[in-house]
């Protein structure tokens, strides 16, 4: 029987997953929150773990997990901004302090970092032949 091993992509996906969890925690501090964003971030982290678990058993299938993660993470960024649009407008117009949107940008920064790592992981194998 052919032996498979865990590829570098799986480890990168785990890094992206950890960043997604951090982003999820940070999202709690954002002024206006859109619940599905939590599901997207947690979903990305869960997919990362599943990738690691299935890397040896179903490597070809697991290789697509970072693709799913990147879609979830970039979706989280844009949907996370959905409810913050007005507030960002207020700050740009000078009507409210920049501190009211900083937590959104920190969250978006972490999510973006997670997304980029997931994108890189998409190019790499999650599971591969030993």
């Amino acid at each position: 029987m052919e032996k498979n091993k865990i590829g570098f992509g799986a480890y990168m996906a785990i890094v992206a997953g950890i960043l997604a969890i951090v982003a999820c925690v940070l999202y709690r501090t954002v002024m206006y929150q859109f619940k599905p964003v939590y599901y997207m971030l947690i979903g990305a982290a869960v997919v990362a773990v599943l990738g690691l678990l299935l890397a040896k058993a179903l490597p070809k299938f697991a290789n697509y997990f970072p693709v799913c993660m990147s879609v979830l993470l970039f979706s989280a960024i844009v949907w996370g901004s959905m409810l913050m649009v007005n507030q960002i407008g207020y700050v740009i117009a000078g009507l409210d302090g920049v501190e009211t949107i900083m937590s959104y940008f920190i969250f978006a920064g972490f999510t973006l970092a997670a997304g980029v790592v997931a994108l890189v992981a998409s190019f790499l194998p999650v599971g591969q032949k030993a």
Partner: protein, 1038 residues
């Protein structure tokens, strides 16, 4: 093998990239759709166009016409009017030895850092900005004085006008209040007055001021979403640079600066640039201060008018709209102001806790009862004079005992002129149930031409221990034209006795209902005077036959018993003004909810009413409102409204014309036509309309109604929301509307918020001028394609610490009512719908969102609501914005007692209601708003965060609830009925049709989605194909 592996990774990676981009674009599409109006406006595009299908035979479909031949003419007229209002609204408080006017041949030294950074308007809805591209000028004090020929000490201006000075001590653009939309659990703690210390003045600088006239500028700023608080500290640039006892008292730096000005000048003029009365008793009593002038916050053009007053080109005729008290914290309203938390607030961890989403943590009990502003100071004065009800006790007094002259610097309504006038009250005729008339003769007894205001006040009979009554209240006012020296004019003032009736919560009417407007039997003293205090002195002189104990607040006041006329009512009348009236606001009285909680200010004992309500635990009944449960869906299907019925009508069919095809109005509200028209509207359309109205009133395709635009604010359309005349127009409008303003127009970006702030407008006491303001704001609507304006602000100046007082006229509800009605009348004449705000009881900005506001029903009706009543009962207000706060524990926009029972049933209001901006807070939910007759919801992108969710998602519940649908349809009817009477109909006729088109933004997004979708699919296929091939290859190898 490796190549195949690598290419699989490559295709998979590219799949990830394009799929992620696709996800971004799909998400962005939702954001774009949600903000389509704003984006389209910025890009000058629209998703519909009006097509004429008349075979070339066009009818005149411009129902509201401009009186101007060009936009340039309108802009010029507006700037001139703003200047005129500012000159008439400037109030001269003191003028010893004719310190004013200033001879422009003399050199003037401006003193105070705020002289180069004055406050022109408040932040947010009444902000002032200009478009340099359009050649617009923001007239500062310096540039205005120069424009009007003043010679200024440039050395002092140079000292102040540096970045370094502003950075170290100053206020950015005249502001240092910090607006906050967030929740407050503590009172605001910092405020920078913006004055520099005395050590910045070198000997050279001081020498430059010697022999010049000192013009000392004292400023305080204004802002929405902010308040002052007595406990604030002066902190500039993260360090304490100044000190004060209270932010509305003179600061140490200001006092030091004034001392230097006195040393180094021929005379000192103090200019108060603030809408919140500051403590100026020491300046009033200081002989070295020659003159004091109040100019409020005069807007972008106003200092030109102020300069005219300073030079004497215009004789001042303005009068105070608020009492200038010696201490800014002496009013009983200050006992309960700021942040107070329920014991079970969301941070408490106690009992049946409120949640953050409830936004119900805070309350405010207005224990002052009806005794707001001058109604407190003057009523207590009368009782002190008459030795009644412990009026001279130490309770609430500045000193050991309450003495009027220690309490009030300048009374409400006070104001001087460069000339003198003699006013004589000739007659007063009262017609209960009709119109009353007073006549007064005004003679200019001085040697300068000028205008004079006749203020008519009344004292209604007070019975000890009975119904609370102010000792004096404004009834109406009139203003002369310019009177030459020696000239006279008889001023006729009409008034409605309803506006001095008292509300008796205990009165039982013939029909058995409780609560009534009452005119009690007894003597009514009508009096005129230079302000409330002089009028009251005239009343007291008449009533007591003596002037012995009477106090005058200034040398210029006089006492004349002949200027008071007695009218007697022999029998108490509780019916005339009580049609459809009964108690509605009993649950706003905290004592009716939790017995004995509040001790209200009362004329029967002035030692009462000084207790702060520090803690409050809501009862179960109160929790209903605090938990946002004002409406519950039920399944009821009796008389289910009709939706989506096919029919021939368009909204434009509501217009009526005379035999010459001139528009005469619209079909009567109760005509069956409206039902037929609205039956064509689908349920989905109706839901979309009421759930998303506000900045834009949504389109109703089924009746050919396109989107209608509405924006802030009281100074004119604010630049933050409408960045110029061109913003709402698209090329499609070019052939349809003669007021189309393209982006290429030199005035396209000209900012429209040109008027002075509301206290200054009210200080003119000139209704004609204010109606003219409304007309020109209405003209702006025509040229900017805006059909409604969030103005005027009609909340009461409950305390001087509310930093949003700049958006409201006065501490007096009658002055507010007249001014509000005047501006609404002007707007309506031009087809721009006035939308007064914030209905009601938005008395403070701290925690305005969700704040439970308690008061007696008498106070609510006689003060705040009376300010709204005139424009709403006259229906010159066509829309009204409800407030952020709760009334009692019920959200004001979903409080049936207020929006339906009082506004509709008592006043006959036929305009629409819309909420203030709903920002994801559950308490402002569409269910409670629509279900209780609160109209539409001004939503933002955060609406969906509320637990109740979007209205469209609850369609299945709505479909089963006929009562809810009826309320929704009725609200829709008020909207449509008024839109039909607005400039939104311009360009629409029975032969035009609204045709929807895709914008290039829509096409670009769709194109991007298709491209990215194809690329994603392509790379996914390649990737899977490689996987499959490599699998087969491997199988072969094995």
């Amino acid at each position: 093998m490796n190549t195949q592996k690598r290419s699989t990774g490559l295709w998979r990676g590219l799949t990830a990239i394009f799929a992620s981009l696709l996800a971004l674009v799909v998400g962005a599409q939702s954001i774009v759709q949600a903000n389509a109006s704003f984006i389209n406006g910025q890009l000058g595009i629209t998703n519909y166009k009006i097509v004429d299908k008349s075979d070339g035979e066009k009818t005149d479909s411009i129902y509201y016409k401009s009186e101007f031949s060009s936009l340039a003419d309108l802009v010029e007229a507006k700037n001139a009017l703003a200047e005129e209002i500012a000159s008439e609204g400037t109030v001269l408080l003191k003028n010893n030895d004719q310190a004013l006017p200033i001879d422009t041949a003399e050199t003037v030294t401006l003193w105070g850092l705020n002289s180069v950074h004055p406050t022109l308007g408040g932040m947010i809805g009444s902000s002032v900005s200009v478009s340099a591209d359009a050649g617009q000028v923001q007239w500062s004090l310096v540039s205005s004085l120069k424009e009007k020929g003043f010679k200024l000490n440039e050395q002092m201006i140079k000292l102040y006008d540096t970045d370094d000075m502003t950075k170290s001590y100053g206020r950015k653009n005249g502001h240092s209040l910090t607006p906050s939309f967030g929740k407050m659990y503590e009172n605001a703690s910092k405020y920078n007055v913006g004055e520099a210390p005395a050590d910045i003045y070198t000997d050279d600088i001081l020498a430059s001021a010697d022999g010049t006239v000192a013009l000392v500028v004292l400023s305080r700023d204004s802002s929405e979403a902010a308040d002052y608080n007595p406990v604030m500290e002066n902190i500039a640039n993260k360090q304490t640079t100044d000190t004060y006892e209270r932010p509305l008292a003179l600061s140490a730096n200001e006092q030091a600066m004034i001392a230097l000005a006195k040393e180094h000048s021929t005379k000192v003029i103090v200019l108060i640039n603030a809408n919140n009365p500051i403590e100026i008793e020491e300046l009033k009593n200081d002989d070295a201060i020659g003159a004091i002038v109040w100019c409020g916050e005069p807007g972008m053009n106003g200092f030109l008018g102020v300069a005219d007053v300073l030079s004497g080109a215009v004789n001042p005729s303005g009068h105070l709209t608020d009492t200038y008290a010696v201490s800014s914290v002496s009013a009983p309203a200050m006992v309960n102001f700021g942040v107070y938390l329920y014991t079970n607030n969301s941070k408490s961890g106690k009992g049946d806790m409120l949640t953050e989403n409830n936004k119900g943590d805070w309350y405010l009990v207005e224990t002052e009862s009806i005794y707001n502003g001058y109604k407190y100071y003057e009523t207590r004065y009368e009782d002190a004079v008459l030795g009644q009800a412990n009026a001279d006790s130490a309770a609430g007094a500045i000193g050991d005992g309450w003495v009027y002259e220690d309490e009030v610097s300048y009374p409400f309504g006070y104001g001087l002129s460069y000339t003198t006038f003699e006013q004589k009250l000739n007659s007063v005729e009262v017609n209960v149930g009709g119109v009353g008339t007073a006549k007064a003769t005004v003679t200019n007894t001085g040697d300068v031409a000028g205008k004079s205001v006749v203020q008519l006040y009344v004292q209604a009979p007070y019975k000890a221990g009975g119904l609370e009554k102010s000792a004096i209240q404004l009834v109406a006012f009139g203003k002369t034209g310019v009177l030459e020296p020696g000239a006279s004019e008889e001023v006729t003032i009409e008034f409605d006795p309803a506006y001095f009736a008292s509300y008796d919560e205990n009165a039982v009417k013939e029909n058995g209902t409780q609560g009534a407007w009452v005119l009690e039997d007894g003597d009514y003293y009508f009096a005129i005077g230079n302000g409330a205090h002089e009028a009251l002195n005239n009343v007291l002189a008449k009533k007591t036959g003596s002037e012995d104990k009477l106090v005058m607040t200034a040398d210029t006041e006089s006492i004349n018993a002949d200027n008071a006329i007695v009218w007697n009512l022999d029998k108490t009348d509780i019916e005339t003004y009580s049609v459809n009236v009964e108690n509605q606001l009993q649950d706003m009285d905290i004592n009716k909810l939790i017995e004995g909680t509040a001790e209200y200010t009362t004329r029967s004992d002035w030692t009462k009413g000084w207790k702060t309500i520090e803690t409050l635990t809501p009862t179960d009944a109160m929790m209903v409102g605090l938990r946002d449960q004002l409406y519950t869906f039920t399944e009821n299907d009796e008389d289910m409204p009709t939706w989506g019925q096919s029919g021939p009508y368009k909204i434009v069919d509501a217009l009526t014309f005379d035999e010459n095809d001139k528009p005469t109005g619209v079909i009567a509200f109760d005509d069956p036509f409206w039902d037929e028209l609205l039956n064509q509207v689908t349920l989905d359309e109706a839901i979309n309309f009421v759930a998303n109205t506000g900045d834009d009133l949504e389109n109703l395709d089924s009746i050919q109604l396109a989107k209608v635009y509405a924006n802030d604010g009281p100074l004119g359309y604010t630049g933050d929301q409408v960045g110029g005349y061109f913003v709402r127009w698209t090329a499609n409008d070019k052939d349809v509307n003669p007021y189309y303003t393209p982006e290429t127009d030199p005035l396209a970006t000209y900012r429209m918020a040109a008027m002075p702030t509301e206290p200054m407008v009210a200080a003119t006491y000139n209704k004609e001028l204010v109606e003219r303001e409304g007309e020109l704001l209405g003209e702006d609507g025509l040229y900017s394609k805006e059909s409604a304006i969030f103005a005027p602000g009609l909340n009461l100046h409950r305390t001087v610490y509310c930093a949003r007082n700049h958006e409201y006229y006065s501490e007096d509800s009658v002055l507010m009512a007249y001014m509000g009605n005047a501006v609404c009348t002007g707007l309506q004449s031009k087809g721009t719908m006035a939308e007064p705000k914030h209905f009601a009881f938005n008395a403070q900005e701290s925690n305005r969102s969700g704040l439970s506001t308690f008061m007696t029903e008498q106070a609510a009706r006689e003060n705040e609501l009376r300010g709204f009543q005139m424009c709403m009962s006259n229906n010159t207000a066509q829309g009204v914005m409800t407030a952020f706060n709760r009334a009692g524990t019920s959200y004001s926009g979903g409080y049936r007692s207020l929006v339906t029972n009082i506004a509709r049933n008592e006043w006959g209001y036929m305009g629409w209601f819309v909420t203030d901006m709903i920002n994801g807070a559950d308490y402002m939910n569409w269910r409670d708003v629509v279900g209780n007759g609160g109209g539409g919801c001004l939503t933002s992108s955060a609406y969906d965060t509320s637990d109740i969710g979007a209205m469209a998602n609850s369609k299945s519940l709505i479909e089963k609830d006929a009562n809810f649908q009826k309320e929704m349809k009725q609200s829709l009817k008020y909207f449509v009925y008024n839109i039909a009477q607005s400039n939104a109909m311009n360009g629409i006729s029975s032969t035009t049709e609204i045709v929807y088109v895709r914008t290039w933004v829509d096409n670009a997004i769709l194109g991007a989605e298709i491209c990215l979708g194809i690329l994603t699919a392509l790379f996914l296929i390649l990737s899977i194909r490689n996987d499959v091939l490599s699998g087969k290859k491997k199988a072969k190898e094995n």
